[in-house]
């Protein structure tokens, strides 16, 4: 079946009434989560993951993934509203929007244009990224289907290397988090020899530590403690904001002038996002940097230049879409948020990876079609509902904070009806708060935790096949190239350090 035919089938799935309903619910919840500072998209998806279990039970896994993905898209759009109107980023990926979004809204008095610019760029960027996803994911999956244990292990190693080598503030802390995640994943029975490991005589530890309670803890509880700690949201300056027809027309004219910039950022963001571990946040900074680099009017940046809004937002949304590529094609999460979605796939009984395209085509193509629909839906809601979104900012924190704690607890409990998981969530909530405080990156930890079992399995399968010969990873050209790439990525921070030292001495 060709791509367009499959996509048409996907639209037939995505347009079923219950799927549209849950897509809408996901997008709206995502918008709310995006607007609320102190609650990010990853936490939102993590907290609502258990609800998706009920959705998958009553409908299908396709409905559940459409719902979770909808939260991601909603949060992508919603995070920028507070950046632009209040100078408070609702999401980490909306930080780049502070540079030009707030000045355009405040100093130039055009909040409507600023908002419309970001929504339109989000939508156009995501549209191009989704088209790329539609045509490339299947190709990549076809290649990945031929992978054996050695190649798969090499893919996992490359994923960890990108997390460590690109973007991490302290590469050594990222190394530590990756290894710590692998260690946590190893707790419990060894699937190959059946030996108990790291259980310390505790029966409850033999089944291992669940990925979901840990993630809800790290992101849900950890983030709410961190934002309670930073408190001080306090005074919010009110900018009256509506997106009127005039704003839309003005923005449209601005977009036409910058259409190539937006499309280029969409494409670049997509490929950047498809690298494992890097989602919208890194994408938006990359987009802002590129727009400034290419612009002839560099001095306008930071003063409310529309390119400074459109470029990062197009790249951010495209990166989020791109982060689904490795999840669908390789079974490797492309961002922390898609790591949480991947956990959902496991719970609903699906194995993320290339076989999805063969065993569950309705799932894959339904998801892809829902990305087109979800972005369009969110875009339309955003254009009409800005005043409502701005009101969410005034939600009473004294009630919201305990509510989020309680919802996280329900999420952890309801997976297995086990209070042990609640305890894990609370413990990892406190750990997550502390690691944030100490500036440890959490993305490597989460990705390593979700990939830990597969990494070990493929590594040992490869070594069993080769009778313990490590050369197996270099005999296959694909795994040799991937591992070589991983080594280069791991060396990047080291080279950077040496160069800095060189210039400091000169």
């Amino acid at each position: 079946m060709d791509v367009l035919g499959s996509l048409a089938g996907g639209f037939a799935t995505a347009l079923q009434a219950n799927n549209v309903l849950f897509l809408l619910a996901g997008c709206i919840l995502g918008l709310i989560i995006g607007v609320l500072p102190g609650l990010g998209g990853t936490s939102g998806v993590a907290i609502l993951l258990p609800i998706s279990v009920y959705i998958a039970r009553d409908n299908s896994a396709t409905t559940a993934i459409i719902f979770l993905a909808g939260i991601y898209w909603g949060a992508l759009f919603g995070g920028v509203v507070t950046s632009i109107l209040f100078n408070i980023p609702g999401e980490p990926w909306a930080v780049a929007l502070l540079f030009d979004g707030y000045p355009l809204a405040k100093r130039k008095g055009k909040p409507g244009v600023a908002l419309a610019s970001s929504f339109m760029a989000s939508w156009v960027g995501a549209l191009f990224a989704t088209i790329l996803l539609t045509f490339l994911a299947k190709e990549l999956a076809d290649v990945a289907l031929r992978f054996g244990p050695a190649e798969l292990f090499a893919v996992f190693v490359l994923s960890f290397a990108t997390l460590i080598g690109l973007g991490a503030e302290s590469p050594m802390k990222a190394v530590m988090m990756v290894a710590f995640g692998l260690l946590l994943a190893a707790i419990g029975f060894d699937t190959i020899t059946g030996e108990p490991r790291l259980a310390f005589g505790q029966i409850s530890l033999l089944s291992g530590i669940g990925f979901v309670p840990v993630t809800i803890g790290l992101f849900g509880i950890g983030e709410i403690i961190a934002s309670a700690d930073e408190a001080g949201i306090g005074y919010v300056e009110k900018i009256a904001a509506r997106v009127g027809l005039k704003d839309i027309l003005e923005t449209f004219a601005a977009l036409r002038k910058r259409i190539w910039l937006v499309i280029a950022n969409g494409v670049i963001g997509f490929f950047f996002g498809s690298l494992p571990g890097h989602g919208a946040t890194a994408g938006s900074f990359l987009g802002y940097g590129l727009a400034r680099q290419w612009a002839r009017n560099k001095e306008d940046f930071g003063k409310g230049e529309i390119s400074g809004i459109m470029a990062p937002q197009a790249a951010a949304d495209a990166s989020a879409v791109g982060s689904l590529v490795p999840m669908l094609a390789l079974g490797v999460p492309g961002s922390p948020t898609s790591a949480v979605m991947m956990a959902g796939l496991f719970i609903w009984g699906l194995q993320p990876g290339p076989l999805l395209f063969i065993d569950h085509p309705d799932f894959v193509w339904g998801l892809m079609a829902s990305i087109y629909l979800g972005h369009l839906l969110t875009f339309l809601i955003c254009l009409t509902a800005v005043p409502l979104l701005a009101m969410i900012m005034r939600a009473p924190h004294g009630i919201l904070t305990p509510f989020i704690v309680i919802i996280s607890v329900i999420g952890a409990y309801s997976l297995n009806n086990d209070m042990k998981d609640v305890a894990i969530t609370i413990v990892f909530g406190i750990i997550g708060y502390w690691l944030r405080k100490m500036k440890y990156p959490l993305a490597p930890l989460v990705v390593a935790l979700v990939l830990g079992d597969s990494t070990e399995r493929e590594l040992r399968k490869a070594l069993i096949g080769s009778q313990g010969e490590w050369s197996v990873f270099f005999v296959s050209p694909i795994s040799a190239i991937l591992i070589a790439l991983a080594v280069v990525l791991l060396a990047l921070p080291l080279i950077g350090q040496l160069r800095r030292r060189g210039t400091a001495q000169a």
């Binding site: 609800i51 009920y54 302290s170 050594m172 802390k173 190394v175 530590m176 990756v178 290894a179 710590f180 692998l182 260690l183 190893a186 707790i187 060894d190 190959i192 020899t193 059946g194 030996e195 108990p196 490991r197 790291l198 310390f200 509880i221 403690i225 309670a228 700690d229 408190a231 009473p396 924190h397 004294g398 009630i399 904070t401 305990p402 509510f403 704690v405 309680i406 919802i407 607890v409 329900i410 409990y413 309801s414 009806n417 209070m419 609640v422 305890a423 609370i426 406190i430 502390w434 690691l435 405080k437 100490m438 440890y440 070990e456 590594l459 040992r460 070594l463 069993i464 009778q467 313990g468």
Partner: protein
């Protein structure tokens, strides 16, 4: 910041050491028959632990070598107090949620009312109202709509929650 950073790295080093000690028997490949690929179950966690340990030592050493640019971890004593007022009741609440104690709904009501009234300092009637409304909404969404059972109190079924 520095003492906290070093302490955090030291805790990771300790965790890694415990893990490596626990899995030491599988650390090295063995030629014994019947072990697939010559690797015991402890091999992979042992070496993951080893990487954690090495990274923790490097992070600790880096922190000690670089100048301590950031002051304390917490803004002031008020911030520490606030955290305690937030985290400790959260732990107590989840403990009380067990079906051998207060159960989910009563514990939730108490926690929400506590936070709204004593931490966020809302008027007492708002706190009580929130304490009733939130468990009620959760009951309707989870117990009625999703048919998910949450732990009831030890008094159930004498009381409805």
């Amino acid at each position: 910041m520095r003492p906290y950073q070093v302490a955090t790295a030291a805790i990771f080093l300790l965790i890694a050491a415990v893990a490596m000690f626990d899995t030491r028997s599988g650390a090295l490949p063995t030629s014994a028959a019947g072990v697939p690929g010559g690797l015991r179950g402890g091999w992979y966690p042992f070496w993951s632990g080893a990487v954690v340990a090495v990274a923790a030592i490097v992070v600790g050493a880096q922190t000690l070598r670089r100048p301590d640019t950031e002051p304390g971890v917490f803004k002031d004593r008020g911030a520490v107090l606030y955290l305690a007022k937030f985290i400790l009741p959260m732990i107590v609440t989840t403990y009380l949620m067990s079906d051998k104690l207060l159960g989910f709904y009563v514990a939730t009501a108490a926690y929400v009312a506590y936070y709204a009234g004593l931490v966020a300092r809302y008027r007492w009637y708002w706190a009580v109202l929130a304490g009733i409304a939130i468990p009620l909404v959760i009951y309707l969404v989870f117990e009625v709509a999703f048919k998910a059972l949450l732990p009831k109190s030890v008094f159930y079924p004498t009381t409805p929650f």
